[in-house]
C-alpha cells in the first residue's frame, strides 16, 4: 500500500521511474553552440567534483562501487580540480573519475551543449537542420549508411557508401584514428563516438551551409557545399538532456504472401508513442512487421513497456533494473484498446527487429526483451552495449552529470552493458552493399518472413 499524506504521492515515484532515460547523446550540434564564455570559477568546479563524487557514492547500484576505493579515488583526483585553471581540465578529471567505474551512462554533458533554460517539451521553435544522412564507422572510414531522399545530402548527389573525409576543414581522420586502435566493447563505443562526432558537425541551423569533402563510390574525392535543411521530425527538450530528434518513418513492403510493415524511429521519445500505435494499427493486416531501431540511441526507457505491448499479449518481463536497494522490472503492457477507444489486441504476426552498433540503451532493452521472450527475431549488427538506465543531475557549474541509477539485466539475468544484444542473424553493414543500394539487414528479415510464411502454408 503506497500511501502518502496527499493522495497522489505515488505519482512522484512513478514520474521518477518513467523519467529514467537510457540514451546516448544525440542531436546537439556543437557547431552552433556558443563557446563557453563564463569566467572560470574554481569554487563551483570543486563543488561540482564533490557533488559527482558524493552522488555516485550514495546512489551507485553496487554498494561496493565495483571494488573501487572511492575515498582514495576522490583524494587522488580532487586536488586536480582544485588546481584546475579551465573548465576543460575539470571535465577531464570528472570524466576520469567516472571512467574508473567502467560502465556506460556516466558522463559529463557540457553546459554549452544544453538547450536554453526554457523547458517546454517538444520544441517546434527550435531550428535544427542537418544533411539528412546517417554515418557509421566502417572499416576505419566514416561512411554514409542511409540517406533521406528529401534531405540536403541526397539532393546534393551524396549516396550510400560515400565516405566523409573532412567537414568544414575538420579532418575526419582526427576522430577516427583513436577508434581504429580499439577492439571489443571499447572499440564499439569509440566507433559510435567517432561517427557521432562527425554527424554533429553536419548539424546546425537550417539554411546555413557546410563544406564537406567526400569520397564517392568510385573513391573519387568530391567537394560539396551543402545547405542544411530543417530536420524531419520533432526536436524534443527533455529536462537537462541535449535536444533529441524524434522521427518516425514507415513503409509497407509487398511480399508474395502479403505485406510487411516497416517501422523505423530515431529515438524513444513519448511524442512518438501515438505514431507507433497508428503504424502498428495500419500494418495490423500484414503477415509481419519489422521494427528498425538501427541508429536509435535510446531515450525514455519506460517506453519499452508500452511499445512491447503492441507485440506481446502477456505482461512478460523485458528486463530487470537492479537498484541499490530494490529491484524493478520493465514488463510489457499489452494493448487491448486504441487511443480512440477501439478494442484491439497485440500484433501476432512475424516480428523482426533491425539493430546495429548504434542501437543503444533503450533500443537494446527493447531488442533484448523481445528477443528473450522469443517474440522477435533480431537481425543486424551487435548493438552498442550501452544499456544502463540513467538520470541527469545539474551540477553547481551548470554542466550536467548523467549517471546510472541501476544495473540492467535481461529477463534471463544477462547483463547487456559492454556486451550488447547479439542478433539471431548477424548481418554486418558493408560498404559494398551500401554502394549497391542494398539494405542487407532488412533483406535478411524479409527473407526470414518469406520462409516462415512458406513453411506455414506448406502442407
Amino acid at each position: 500500500m503506497g500511501l502518502g499524506t496527499e493522495p497522489r504521492l505515488r505519482h512522484v515515484a512513478l514520474v521518477a521511474l518513467l523519467l529514467v532515460v537510457a540514451c546516448t547523446r544525440q542531436v546537439e550540434s556543437t557547431n552552433d553552440v556558443p563557446p563557453d564564455r563564463d569566467p572560470f570559477d574554481s569554487a563551483t568546479a570543486v563543488a561540482s567534483f564533490d557533488t559527482v563524487w558524493r552522488l555516485i557514492r550514495d546512489t551507485h547500484y553496487d554498494r561496493a562501487l565495483k571494488g573501487l576505493d572511492w575515498n582514495a579515488l576522490g583524494a587522488e583526483l580532487r586536488p586536480r580540480v582544485v588546481r584546475a585553471q579551465t573548465i576543460a581540465q575539470v571535465r577531464t578529471t570528472l570524466t576520469e573519475l567516472l571512467s574508473r567505474l567502467g560502465d556506460s551512462h556516466y558522463s559529463i554533458i557540457p553546459r554549452e551543449a544544453l538547450p536554453s533554460a526554457d523547458p517546454s517539451g517538444s520544441s517546434p521553435e527550435v531550428s535544427y537542420g542537418d544533411l539528412g544522412m546517417d554515418l557509421r564507422l566502417l572499416d576505419g572510414a566514416i561512411t554514409v549508411t542511409r540517406l533521406d531522399t528529401g534531405g540536403a545530402a541526397f539532393a546534393a548527389g551524396v549516396r550510400s557508401g560515400w565516405i566523409v573525409e573532412s567537414v568544414d576543414s575538420f579532418p575526419v581522420a582526427s576522430v577516427v584514428s583513436g577508434a581504429r586502435k580499439l577492439t571489443g566493447a571499447k572499440g564499439r563505443v569509440a566507433a559510435i563516438q567517432a561517427a557521432l562526432a562527425v554527424s554533429r558537425r553536419f548539424g546546425g541551423a537550417s539554411g546555413t551551409s557546410v563544406r564537406v569533402t567526400m569520397r564517392d563510390t568510385a573513391d573519387r574525392l568530391v567537394d560539396l557545399t551543402v545547405e542544411r535543411r530543417e530536420a524531419e521530425g520533432d526536436v524534443v527538450r527533455l529536462g537537462n538532456l541535449p535536444l533529441i530528434l524524434a522521427r518516425m518513418d514507415t513503409a509497407r513492403v509487398l511480399e508474395p504472401g502479403g505485406c510487411v510493415g516497416v517501422i523505423r524511429f530515431t529515438s524513444w521519445m513519448p511524442v512518438l508513442a501515438n505514431r507507433i500505435e497508428r503504424a502498428v494499427g495500419a500494418f495490423g493486416d500484414c503477415l509481419g512487421m519489422v521494427v528498425d531501431v538501427r541508429g536509435n540511441l535510446g531515450g525514455v526507457a519506460a517506453m519499452v513497456m508500452g511499445t512491447s505491448g503492441w507485440f506481446l499479449p502477456t505482461a512478460d518481463t523485458l528486463g530487470i533494473l537492479r537498484l541499490r536497494d530494490a529491484e524493478l522490472r520493465y514488463v510489457a503492457i499489452p494493448h487491448r484498446v486504441t487511443a480512440d477507444g477501439r478494442h484491439t489486441r497485440p500484433f501476432d504476426g512475424a516480428l523482426a527487429l533491425l539493430v546495429d552498433a548504434h542501437s543503444a540503451s533503450t533500443s537494446e532493452i527493447f531488442a533484448a526483451g523481445l528477443q528473450g521472450t522469443g517474440r522477435a527475431r533480431v537481425f543486424g549488427d551487435t548493438t552498442a552495449g550501452q544499456a544502463l538506465p540513467a538520470t541527469l543531475y545539474r551540477l553547481p557549474n551548470r554542466d550536467v552529470l548523467m549517471y546510472a541509477v541501476a544495473d540492467f539485466v535481461t529477463g534471463r539475468g544477462q547483463r547487456l552493458d559492454g556486451r550488447g544484444v547479439i542478433p539471431d542473424e548477424v548481418v554486418p553493414v558493408r560498404r559494398r552493399d551500401l554502394v549497391r543500394g542494398r539494405d542487407v539487414a532488412l533483406e535478411a528479415a524479409l527473407r526470414w518472413m518469406r520462409g516462415r510464411q512458406h513453411r506455414a502454408s506448406s502442407p
Binding site: 500500500m1 504521492l9 517546454s120 527533455l238
Partner: protein, 256 residues
Amino acid sequence: MSQLSTQGSLVAHVSLVLAAAIAPSIGSAQGLPAAKDLIARYVAETGADAWKSHKSSRMKATMDMPAAGMSASMEVLHVYPNRVFTKVDVPGMGMMTSGFDGENAWSVNPMTGPRVLSGPELAAVRAESDPSASYSRQSADITSSETVEKTTLGGQECYKVKHTWKSGKITFDCFSVTDGLMVATQSRQSTPMGELEMLTTLSAYKDFGGFKRPTTLTQEVMGQQQIITISAWEWDNVDAKEMELPTEIKAMLTKK
C-alpha cells in the same frame, strides 16, 4: 457544478471512520505518547476532517526535479469520498492521467499506454483515494498504529508512528514534537515496475479554508530530489465532466 457526492456514500464513510476510531492503537514504547493521541492531535491541528463538509476539492501543484531540469504541472481532483482524477503534464513526456472511480483504478501515459490497475497498485490507489486514510489516518483499513520512536526527520524532532494495514503493509508517519504536524511519511510506493521505498518530508503547512495542508512535499528518488509545491486547494468546483474516464479506459472496462 454537479452534485458529485451521494449522501449514501457519506454515511458509509462516517461508519468507516467510527470503526477506525475503535481500531486498536497498540501500547507505545515506554515514555512515548500513544499513537492515537498523536493522530488525534494532528487531526485537530490540521482540521483533517474538514473535507467532510465539502463535495469535492481541486489541488493545484507543481512537481519539480530541479537537478534533472524537469518541472511538471499537476492537478488532483477529488470528489468525496473516494473518486480521484489526477493530471500531471511533464514537458517532453506528455500528459499522464490516473484515477479511481470508487471501484476501478486506472492510468494513461505515453510510456505505458492505458492501464486498468489490479493487485497492489489497485490497493494502493484505493487507500490513497480514501480521505479518512490519506488526510487523517483514521481509516478502517488501518488495523493498528503504534508509536515506535522519537527521532529527527526533515530537520524536526518527531514521534514515529508505525501503521499496520489490513493488507499487511506497514507505513510510518512522523509527528512533530513541537506542533503535532506530520513532518514525514514513509511507505513503499507501488508502480507498474514494482515497489520503491519512499521517505517524504512535509513542510510549509498552510490553511485552505480551515484545512491545513503541507504545501511542500520533498522526496529523494535515485539521488534526485523531487519537490511537490501545492499552490492552491479549492473546494467544491469540480465538474462532473472533469471526472469522466478517458476514452481508452472506458473501452477497457467495457467487455468486448
